[in-house]
Symmetry: C2
Subunit: 144 residues, 2 copies
DNA sequence: GTTCCTGCAAAAGCTTTGCAGAAGA
DNA sequence: TCTTCTGCAAAGCTTTTGCAGGAAC
């Protein structure tokens, strides 16, 4: 998932966004860390590398990315906002024990949602919770 | 969806929760208003009837209900927390134009999510966004 | 040279918490 | 009487905003 800086710059320029150092770093982080980070997690990770980075820049950049449809804002559970680079539709499974979030493919089509005849569906968010296989085996418990 | 007070009291007593006036009102509100209200919406609606009601009581009661699995905490979109009485699995469709939230039945089973073999699924949240039929006809736009 | 972006600090929301008095068992 | 709940105020978080200096165009 490693990308060249040029590729990231194109990502931004295509959307008429200035490729500032901070934005490139944030976007790069999202591309390399597909674990649905919160704004705070992004800030903490980049802060050591960019000591002057401010949290408002992280929030501002993320909002800009979301508006540009470059990044998707997730509300998986617990009302903590998470972010993910836009890709194809997939579901999120959050393990209640270890807190990890897993992606999974979904095959939902119109026949599964007959109530939505006549609706124009733009975005599908599917979030499951439960216990993941590792935790079912009692192997690891981290706290959420 | 109107229920008797006795029925609401049983609801609470079965879970060893004291049926205070405030809790009965909040629970009654959730049973009669199946539009996934926020804590603030519940507070505003009941405030005229119970002038002394405090917002912390609303939050506390809702948290108690959620822990008792009487109410489900929804994170549909935009990270605003909403609440709904627990019923069978159903999806939520949020119209981007009028802001209304529609329920719809879903028929997802294991064969639609092969990636989740070995996972113990406790809860399924399915949230779609888009445009509802009314707004597609250009009939009404309320702002979200 | 202009425009846009960053970073600081302050503000704005939403939600939780501590505690004294009130209500329910 | 004892326990739990309410309501107020304060605190804690997350996120947004105003603005001066700096970076990108």
């Amino acid at each position: 998932m490693k990308r060249s800086i040029e590729e990231l710059i194109s990502y931004l320029k295509e959307r008429e966004l200035r490729p500032s150092y901070q934005r490139l770093k944030i976007l790069g982080y999202l591309l390399e860390n597909r674990n649905h980070p919160t704004a705070d997690e992004i800030y903490e990770s980049l802060h050591s590398e960019i000591p002057t980075l401010s949290k408002s820049t992280v929030y501002n950049s993320l909002n800009v990315f979301v508006q540009a449809r470059l990044v998707k804002q997730l509300t998986i559970e617990d009302s903590d906002t998470r972010y993910d680079i836009v890709t194809q539709d997939h579901g999120h499974f959050k393990c209640e024990l270890c807190g990890r979030i897993y992606n999974f493919k979904i095959n939902i089509d119109g026949s599964d949602t007959p109530d939505l005849k006549g609706f124009n569906i733009k975005d599908r968010n599917v979030n499951f919770t439960g216990t993941c296989p590792s935790c079912l085996k009692g192997k690891e418990i981290r706290g959420r």
